[in-house]
């Protein structure tokens, strides 16, 4: 460590941002300390029911990441922990962490839950937002990691009085509970810090007019998520907390605790519009009746990718009512029904009193007081609302070098932006610590694998009591006896907890003693425990795929608690089936491919350059190709950023960094003529004839400005697009700078039938331009004609300022667009005013059009060459809308910037860094291994029919030498091709049809 830097990173906060940052760093050669205040990782995502705009189940998409993060060798998770002190400098921080006693040893606790069953103390369950109860010894949610309970010391009877209780101790057979456990101080050294402590929901109790806390049927949006959730307090049944009645009419109130200057929460919380629509749509799905849903809003801010379509569908197809109004008050209809009345004025000023069964408050996002305190302790600059202030155009750099910010701490964010910022922070950390990569990581050595291919199967069956979880229902000795008589079984035994450390030793001994070459564990879920046992297999010198599990707990003892005999029969059957499969198991070798440690970045705009610089700083060789003859892209036309940044200076600095870097090669005036290969090994031919071999591809080909066909554009020289208007201001064009009146028209080419998406940046841009015009000439009248003002996040502050400075905002309807007519050198704009309902005529000197951002023109070419799918609007489609925002279905190809969808420059930079962070997980490895089981082709049976090639979403199969070939590194192991193959030439390792059929045979053998 010549630089004195430390190759480890501390990540504070284990929500989705913390998990993603940790995984990215750990996969790139850094050791990670993941510090989490609560007893489990996961953050807010596990509480959500579905996620917009895909309606994915939140827990389902998160759960694999929880397992991956929890079990990662190079991620040390410190739960119940808070950071107390940070000293030192970038590259070398000394951190003190206070770990509160959990009172349960997570290494011993098996998560069986017997303690909680016995615990007599019921307390409000904060995971369910207080709508349900948990015990004083508890696990936040079923899939929580660590899969261990914790004691709430403020509620535990024994903690208050030693002799008062102790029921949990009696029932815990793992001896994991220790009421005497002490708090600890942990000192660590890290090279950088990533802060992603998340948000706290706004508490609406003090806003009396909403009646929250007073009226039981007024709930927060997070409470409503729990009501909708299948794992929530009502099992997913839509009902009111007050009387359990299913509501027929529900209202959502937007901007509760957001866009409210009176309480000094002037910012927009960015996510509430979408989550409210989602909740309304999902509630309608859950309802047996025709649920009436209304959303009371000020501006509908569905500005993200595919959000506008979601809004359109909700409004037009799913029948959600949208009422544009900031309500006055919620009151209760009467004591008995507890129904609610909302008093509001519509746009015309007409007063209404409307009754609802239930009202949901769309509460905003705030930084928690403890987070603000942490920020202050670290000396970070915070904005007026207590969120971390990030350095201009960095996306993730805090005011202190070496400390990065991800997720909602930097401002309210939805899940994909949170994940994106986490990957970006990981990328930035890695840039800082490039020279100490790989210095702190742990690796495990396993003994060489025994060759068992010539041996007959000798199966060992290990049956678990899981304390009382299995044993009290299923006759475990009986199951063991049955197992002993099964074909190929050489050993069978019972264990109190087969997952405990000493049991692992017993398994290894049994393998040795009985010369076992297959292992079956009959216990709990393979989801949580298979990796543990597979590791034991490797320690014993056996291939980890010669292992199989029977779930006789979750799928048997727990669900047939009252039928012990039948449960025992079932457990025997499950073991029988798995043993039948195990006999046919074959070892699985992980295939690997070499990685070319080089990156091809397509597109030399701000995004491409930012990405290249980040990767070059980490020592990787980068080749940027740019179609035009200079670097800079669209940014060359932009003067000022949304926070007032000098964009030209920023771009010049990027170009300078790119051109002076030894690791970056630039080819301008160059495109791609041919591409082949796959992750780790791409081979791309450029239009100049050069051939580039690279391990990673980053597609950052930008977007285009829509050239309007409306509003006299191109017909009158005082009609500009936003970018042209900015250029005109910079050039001191008198048409603009000396104008008396200027009209800015929003949504030109966006949010219409042809382009049903929001271009995201135009509202902010127009507000910023209006402010700029006012600055140049305070007397100019600027009119902004808009449909919804979408100044999300802290940009709301610009909107407030613009109104304060006298910019006039007039709303128009999509059905009744403004009309622009020529009047000599000047223009005349007619628009129907939203309050008056009457047309008003504005004589104006210039008109600025907020022209849409279009998909890049080369999108289809890139789509063909790199197999990155496009969405309906022509933008590149990410691998997963929520959790993989820069990855694509084509492994090793990443997307960033406008090519992915409209975004601000700062957001593009963050995405570029995120792509760098993700790319690093590939580049930092010498070779890539296939993950788990993959599909395998028997070429002599293959008819080259193309079924697999056409079917596979990951482009893993291709035809070579007249037969299909599956690239193991690309194969995700779903087996869809195996299931479909007409000549059964493809099989999925460990899930061959013969194995499954053998399971079925074993089950029915006696019956037949």
């Amino acid at each position: 460590m010549s630089s004195g830097k430390v190759g480890a990173v501390m990540v504070v906060g284990a929500g989705i941002a913390g998990i993603q940052a940790s995984l990215d760093l750990a996969e790139s050669g850094y050791y990670v300390y993941l510090v989490e205040q609560s007893p489990a990782i996961g953050g807010a995502m596990p509480m959500l029911d579905k996620t917009f705009p895909t309606n994915d189940c939140s827990m389902c998409i998160l759960s694999p990441k929880l397992v991956q993060c929890g079990r990662h060798l190079n991620i040390e998770t410190l739960t119940n922990s808070v950071v107390s002190e940070v000293e030192g400098e970038p590259g070398n921080f000394k951190v003190s962490i206070q770990q509160k006693a959990r009172y349960v040893d997570p290494d011993k606790c098996t998560g069986c839950g017997s303690c909680a069953e016995e615990c007599p103390v019921k307390v409000d369950d904060e995971f369910n937002q207080g709508l349900g109860k948990r015990k004083a010894i508890y696990k936040s949610y079923a899939q929580a990691y660590p899969n261990a309970y914790a004691i709430d010391p403020s509620k535990c009877l024994k903690m208050k009085k030693a002799k008062a209780c102790g029921k949990c101790l009696e029932v815990c057979q793992a001896d994991a509970i220790d009421h005497e456990m002490q708090d600890e101080t942990i000192d660590i050294e890290v090279g950088s810090v990533i802060l992603c402590p998340g948000f706290e929901k706004f508490d609406p109790t003090d806003l009396e007019y909403y009646g929250y806390g007073k009226f039981p049927n007024v709930v927060t949006s997070l409470e409503f998520e729990r009501i909708l959730s299948a794992s929530g307090p009502y099992g997913g049944h839509l009902q009111r907390p007050y009387d359990g009645k299913e509501p027929l009419k529900v209202a959502w109130i937007q901007c509760v605790g957001s866009r409210n200057c009176k309480i000094e929460n002037g910012y927009c919380s960015s996510v509430c519009c979408m989550y409210a629509i989602k909740e309304a749509v999902i509630a309608k799905e859950h309802s047996k009746n025709d649920l009436d849903t209304s959303i009371f809003f000020m501006d509908m801010r569905t500005y993200g990718k595919d959000f506008e379509k979601y809004y359109d569908r909700a409004r037009e197809e799913q029948g959600v009512n949208f009422i544009r109004s900031r309500i006055f008050k919620i009151s209760e209809v009467d004591e008995e029904s507890k129904d609610l009345t909302i008093r509001y004025a519509d746009e015309k000023g007409q007063l209404h009193n409307e009754e609802f069964d239930m009202v949901v408050l769309s509460v905003g996002l705030e930084p928690a007081p403890s987070v603000i305190e942490l920020g202050k302790k670290l000396g970070l600059e915070l904005n007026q609302f207590g969120f971390a202030e990030t350095e201009p155009m960095t996306g993730v750099n805090s005011s202190k070098e070496g400390i990065y910010v991800a997720g909602a701490f930097g401002g309210p964010k939805d899940i994909p932006e949170t994940v994106l910022s986490a990957s970006a922070a990981a990328g930035a950390s890695a840039s800082l610590l490039g020279d100490v990569r790989g210095t702190m990581i742990k690796e495990v050595e396993f003994p060489p694998e025994k060759d068992v291919s010539e041996e007959d199967p000798r199966i060992g069956v290990f049956v678990c009591h899981c304390g009382v979880n299995i044993g009290s229902t299923v006759n475990v000795p009986g199951v063991v006896e049955t197992a002993k008589d099964l074909p190929n079984v050489a050993y069978a035994g019972e264990y109190l907890y087969v997952c405990s450390q000493d049991s692992q030793a017993s398994i290894r001994e049994a393998i040795e003693e009985h010369r076992l070459n297959r292992v079956v564990v009959a216990s709990c879920s393979p989801r949580t425990h298979k990796p543990l046992f597979q590791e034991t297999m490797r320690e014993a010198g056996l291939n980890p795929y010669l292992f199989e599990m029977a779930n006789i707990r979750d799928q048997c003892s727990w669900v047939h608690m009252n039928e012990p005999e039948k449960a025992t029969e079932k457990a025997k059957d499950l073991v029988k089936m798995v043993v039948a499969k195990a006999a046919l198991l074959e070892p699985v070798k992980q295939m690997s491919v070499q990685v070319t440690p080089k990156v091809l970045v397509i597109g030399g705009g701000v995004t491409g350059m930012s990405n290249a610089i980040s990767l070059a700083e980490q020592g990787y060789s980068v080749h940027i190709i740019e179609k035009s003859d200079q670097l800079g892209g669209n940014a060359l036309r932009i003067k000022q950023g949304f926070k007032g940044e000098d964009v030209q200076a920023f771009v010049a600095d990027l170009i300078n960094k790119v051109e002076s870097s030894d690791n970056i090669e630039v080819s301008t005036g160059t495109g791609v003529s041919e591409a082949s290969g796959y992750v780790g090994n791409f081979k791309t031919t450029l239009t100049n004839g050069d051939i580039v071999e690279h391990g990673v591809t980053v597609v950052a080909i930008g977007g285009q400005e829509y050239k309007p066909t409306e509003y006299l554009y191109n017909e009158h020289d005082a009609v500009f697009t936003q970018l042209e208007l900015e250029e005109a201001i910079a050039a001191n064009d008198p048409k603009v700078t000396q104008a008396k009146n200027i009209v800015l028209i929003q949504c030109v080419g966006s949010r219409d039938a042809e382009r049903p998406y929001c271009s995201r940046v135009c509202c902010n841009k127009s507000v910023k331009l209006a402010l700029h015009l006012k600055e140049i000439n305070p007397d100019v009248n600027v009119f902004v004609l808009y449909r919804d003002v979408r100044t999300y996040g802290f940009y709301e502050e610009n909107y407030r300022q613009a109104r304060q400075k006298g910019v006039i905002f007039v709303r128009y309807n999509a059905e009744d667009k403004p009309r622009v007519e020529a009047a000599g050198n000047s223009l005349q704009v007619t628009v129907t005013d939203h309050v008056l309902g009457e047309p008003i005529v504005i004589e104006t000197d210039a008109v600025g059009l907020a022209a849409a951002i279009l998909a890049p023109e080369d999108n289809e070419q890139m789509n063909r060459m790199f197999k990155v799918p496009l969405n309906a609007d022509g933008f590149f489609l990410e691998a997963h809308m929520k959790l993989r925002p820069v990855d694509t279905a084509a492994d090793g190809v990443f997307i960033a910037g406008l090519a992915h969808g409209p975004k601000s420059m700062e957001e593009n930079v963050a995405q570029a860094k995120a792509a760098a962070g993700r790319a690093l997980t590939i580049l930092s490895k010498d070779s890539l291994e296939s993950s788990g089981v993959v599909a395998v082709v028997q070429p002599d049976k293959c008819a080259a029919c193309l079924t697999c090639v056409r079917l596979c979403p990951f482009s893993a199969p291709r035809i070579n030498n007249y037969a299909a070939e599956i690239e193991a590194v690309l194969c995700q192991g779903c087996g869809s091709c195996a299931g479909e193959c007409p000549n059964k030439a493809i099989t999925l390792q460990s899930y061959k049809d013969v194995m499954l059929m053998n399971m079925v045979d074993s089950l029915y053998k006696e019956v037949r």
């Binding site: 049976k941 008819a943 080259a944 029919c945 193959c981 007409p982 059964k984």
Partner: protein, 223 residues
């Protein structure tokens, strides 16, 4: 390739009503590619027939085998050991395969499991279209690579009929007029003059003129 589709299980079952044991022979050629007669379909059909017969209380024993091709005698030879002790053979090949099996095992009851539809290619996965009329005297060089014999409803060889409207055939507005396609393509190629060339009457003797046709290439014959 040859495009074929499976007959109904009912129909196939009725062909082997009085058999107790049958051999199902798939073909790894065209019919595997068009998803009608590969190993999967062969085994699915076998299982379906077994279940059906058990329901009728007349259990059926099945043996399955997939031949590399059923249109070459050598591959049919490989069936011999399986054919011996069965009452019937169900061939999941095209009509050619069924006949080859029947000829080779002349004392066996051999039945087809597929209907052989046409010679064509795939449009999408699971969707095929006829493209060749097997006329024995290819005219594609004169028609811009578009076969009027199979793609024109009337197989007209000299331009469209009166039923061609807006580029569509009168029999269906979803069907392109082949001659419109031919004209457009030849125009795009700058070869419209080719369409004006005099064509002698087509030699239909090379098409289906009674009895099976035979193709011979002395140069590749071995003996």
């Amino acid at each position: 390739m040859i495009i074929a589709q499976q007959k109904s299980i009912q129909d196939i079952a009725s062909m082997i009503e009085d058999c107790n044991k049958v051999l199902l022979v798939g073909c790894a050629g065209c019919v595997t590619v068009c998803l009608a007669g590969g190993e999967k379909e062969t085994e699915v059909l076998a299982a379906s027939l077994r279940i059906k017969r058990r329901l009728e209380n007349k259990p059926l024993e099945t043996v399955t085998f997939v031949a590399t091709r059923q249109c070459d005698p050598e591959y049919i030879e490989t069936l011999e050991s399986y054919v011996k002790d069965v009452d019937a053979v169900i061939s999941l090949a095209c009509g050619v395969g069924v006949q080859y099996v029947a000829e080779r095992f002349s004392d066996k009851w051999v039945v087809p499991a597929l209907n052989t539809n046409f010679i064509g290619g795939s449009l999408n996965h699971g969707e095929w279209e006829e493209r060749c009329g097997l006329c024995g005297d290819c005219v594609l060089h004169r028609t811009g690579g578009i076969c009027p014999i199979i793609r024109c409803s009337k197989s007209i060889l000299n331009g469209p009929c009166g039923g061609s409207q807006y580029g569509k055939c009168e029999i269906s507005k979803d069907m392109d007029c082949a001659w419109q396609l031919i004209y457009d393509r030849m125009k795009a190629l700058g070869k419209l003059d080719k369409l004006m060339e005099y064509q002698p009457p087509k030699d239909w003797s090379k098409s289906r003129d009674g009895g099976p046709r035979r193709a011979v290439r002395e140069d590749v014959m071995i003996d």
